[in-house]
Amino acid sequence: MLTYLRKRIVSSALPLVVVVIGVFALARMTGNPASLYLPLNATEQMREDFATRNGLDQPLWAQMVDYFGGVLQLDFGTSLRTGESAAAMALRAFPATLQLALTTMILAIVLAVIVGSWAALKPNGIADRIASFVSMAAASIPDFWLAIVGIWIFAITLGWLPTSGVGSSASWILPIATLMMRPFGALVQVVRGAMVSALSEPYIKLARSKGASQKRVITRHALRNAAAPALTVAGDLTVGLINGAVVVETIFGWPGIGKLMIDSILQRDFAVLQAAVLLTAIAIFVLNILIDLAYALLDPRVRPASARFRRKRTPEKPVTPADPTPTATAQA
């Protein structure tokens, strides 16, 4: 497993560098930030001073060398907009997004498993139809609309919840409920589909015929086998959320990374954008490894694959002469 991890880390370092270089170059191609930060009647002299002060008068490669030199010393530059350290701004915003994303996903998965399994018990039954309607609706409602309607109903009309902000635990409810809809809807569909096919497998008949209870059949036999496809989809959905839930963060005033990235793009705040992109790229990379590990835990068919992979790697050379042997054994 450690070898596997090491390989993953090495092979992911390159994409990370490519992403950061890409963002670095593309961001600068969108134009000079000077006019955003200087008064509208700024003179040529002031523009030049601004460029010199922020190193924007250097050629792109020189700026890049300078930047990566800083990154190696963990200096990610200073925000043009606020004058703060870009790394500090990104690190401050990220936990807010992470908390929101993880809580949302855990709730979405738990609810989707319950609703999806319930629907799969009697395909095309009344429960299935309700679940399918609800999940389709949940997956297709635009989140900005849902957020505004949620505020209108629960904060203004009923007065149960705060409109926005991060002040109290009640203020988590609307953002999470809004954010949860899409993953929940998608996951219900996946869980239901996987459960329907798992429940029609012969091993379920066998389990039933040996007298296993309904609960046991569902939780231990069917759900376990249905978990892999659900995990794949859940992983993708989580990656999307960690990237920042821009709409929800913006509407509810949630100080997360998605809003920070959008703001720094609009404000051409390059250092902050780069720091935020690097941070989310690392997080997504870690998440992908976790998903792979979870796969191995879930599905026995995946585990031998990684074990075989490890065996093959260590005795690389001795294997070659032994090559005919397995064939012979197989024939025998």
Binding site: N41, T82, W152, G167
Partner: protein, 531 residues
């Protein structure tokens, strides 16, 4: 789910399942801990807010201030918190009367409009307890105007020329300009005073000022809290505490007022469903189209006149803006020195517009040349609709207009010199806010031949502007009036559309009358609980 007693002991997958269950549990617990940690850190929950309402004034802004650096407080998002709340200037312009009033300076005068003497208020202290003296005032000017700090206010109000500052004694200061400048005190009103210890090589994010409120805490991304400063030289403000939050969405800001979570909400539009709690005020913003005359068809004055005739300003104001805005005939609204009350908006006359275009065409002007109507996304309410209406009306007059909706940074390339080159004729939608109260801040930038936001001018107009800038009193007023009339008759660089109205949301338990500068400086000390 309940576990059966046989769980795990018989089959091989039991240990895996336990691990998975453990992983899930720890993930849930972990995130719950994160959650509760956050909740504990902000233990003043909804309940606390309700109780606090009586002594804490809650303001919701459009955005988090990028910084509270006083020398950037000409930027709306910074100034709205700083100005006359945390920090104070030497002199302050009364937004209603336009007169300059004493603040940290009690009187000021000049013999020759070049050297100005300021008498400073005694008994003023900064929030750190130190005394305010002429040294601090001099340092403030040096720091903002003469240093290498790159302060936004420097370019905005002072340009390239440095000021010579001299401390005469503890309460007397002289400021000398390079040339005669009759409105130097007005320019000085943009400088928020900081203590002489403030760095002039680095900007500060959290200022120390002399204002009625001192900065307590800035929870980045969440809120800024201030409290009344005990040693304040003036009248004690009504609210002992205040807090600022920020929300991007107007509907959410409005909802915070209607649900009782905030007392004042900035930057609302009637579409935000604020109802009776919305309070309109003139915000000194004017919307106009600027025609770049370097390319056909705008190089012909008849086409520029046709654009003015083709726009149904009354119709736009009535249908898009429900009659809130006022049809404009010049770049500054009433209340600004130099506003010409005699000017009327161009009448809507489509036939006249058509025939002017035809006439120009007959004389060889390429009236079918593509025109880009440059509009900034979300710059003000219903701007996209306005762009579409204008495109349609100009097309009817026989022009070939394409609407381009751009984001701020791209839009600026069309707004400010050097203008974008590789484009057809440019028709730029400009929103101009004159927050200084004097037309000098408008005409120099928008009408002079090489003004930063001017695309056309003549030597005659430049001479008129130069003369007006140096004039004082009634002469100044009429000199600028003449300039605005001259633009409409001889220059026609602009097709003016409307003077705008701003709106704030105000809870019922609050007593506050917004004025034309509210959007740029919300003076918390003027806000009181309703009786």
């Amino acid at each position: 789910m309940t576990f059966e007693p046989t769980f795990g002991s018989t089959d091989k997958t039991g240990s895996t399942r336990r691990r998975l269950a453990l992983a899930l549990t720890s993930a849930t617990v972990g995130s719950t801990m994160l959650l509760s940690g956050c909740a504990v850190a902000n233990s003043d929950n909804a309940e606390g807010d309700a109780n606090a309402a009586s002594d804490t004034l809650r303001v919701v802004l459009q955005q988090e201030p990028p910084t509270l650096e006083p020398c950037e407080s000409n930027l709306t998002s910074t100034g709205v918190v700083d100005r006359s709340t945390i920090t104070e200037p030497l002199v302050e312009r009364n937004p209603s009367s336009g007169e300059l009033e004493p603040k940290l300076a009690t009187e000021w005068s000049s013999e020759d409009d070049t050297t100005w003497t300021f008498k400073l208020r005694e008994g003023v202290t900064f929030h750190d307890g130190s005394d305010f003296t002429a040294e601090d005032a001099a340092h403030t000017i040096e720091r903002a105007v003469n240093s290498e700090l790159g302060c936004n206010v420097e370019g905005y109000v002072f340009g390239d020329d440095d000021l010579t500052v001299e401390v005469v004694d503890d309460t007397t200061l002289t400021v000398t300009t390079a040339g005669a400048d009759p409105i130097l005190p007005l320019r000085i009103s943009f400088l928020e005073v900081v203590p002489s210890e403030t760095s002039d090589t680095e900007k500060v994010r959290e200022p120390i000022g002399t204002g009625p409120y001192k900065l307590d805490e800035w929870q980045a991304g969440q809120k800024i809290t201030v409290s009344a400063y005990d040693g304040y030289w003036g009248e004690k403000p009504a609210f002992p505490k205040a807090e600022y939050q920020w929300r991007d969405e107007g509907t959410v800001r409005a909802a915070m007022i209607t649900s009782g979570e905030a007392d004042i909400a900035m930057g609302l539009a009637p579409e935000d469903q604020i109802g009776d709690l919305g309070v309109p005020y003139p915000n000194n913003e004017t919307v106009a189209l600027r025609m770049h005359t370097d390319k056909p068809p705008f190089d012909d004055i008849r086409v520029r006149q046709a654009v003015n005739y083709a726009i149904d300003k009354e119709g736009i104001v009535a249908s898009l803006y429900a009659g809130r805005e006022k049809v404009a005939a010049q770049l500054v609204p009433e209340g600004i020195v130099g506003h010409n009350t005699g000017l009327e908006g161009w009448p809507f006359d489509l036939e006249q517009a058509k025939s002017l275009v035809e006439e120009a065409k007959a004389d060889g002007v390429d009236t079918s040349a593509p025109i880009s109507l440059i509009v900034r996304n979300a710059q003000f309410p219903k701007i996209e609709e306005l762009g579409q209406v204008l495109q349609e009306q100009l097309t009817q007059a026989g022009l070939n207009v394409e609407l381009k909706l751009l984001e701020t940074s791209q839009h600026l390339q069309y707004q400010v010199r050097p203008f974008v080159e590789d484009e057809g004729a440019i028709l730029h939608m400009t929103q101009h806010g004159n927050q200084a109260g004097d037309a000098a801040f408008t005409v120099g930038q928008y009408m002079e031949t090489d003004g930063a936001q001017s695309a056309f001018g003549t030597p005659e107009l430049d001479a008129m502007i130069e003369e007006a800038n140096a004039a004082t009193g009634d002469e100044r007023q009429s000199a600028f009036e003449e300039i605005f009339a001259y633009q409409n008759e001889e220059i026609v660089q602009f097709a003016h559309i409307m003077h705008q109205t701003g709106m704030i949301g105000k809870a019922e338990n609050i007593n506050y009358e917004p004025n034309s500068s509210t959007g740029d400086e919300l003076r918390l000390a003027e806000i009181k609980p309703a009786q």
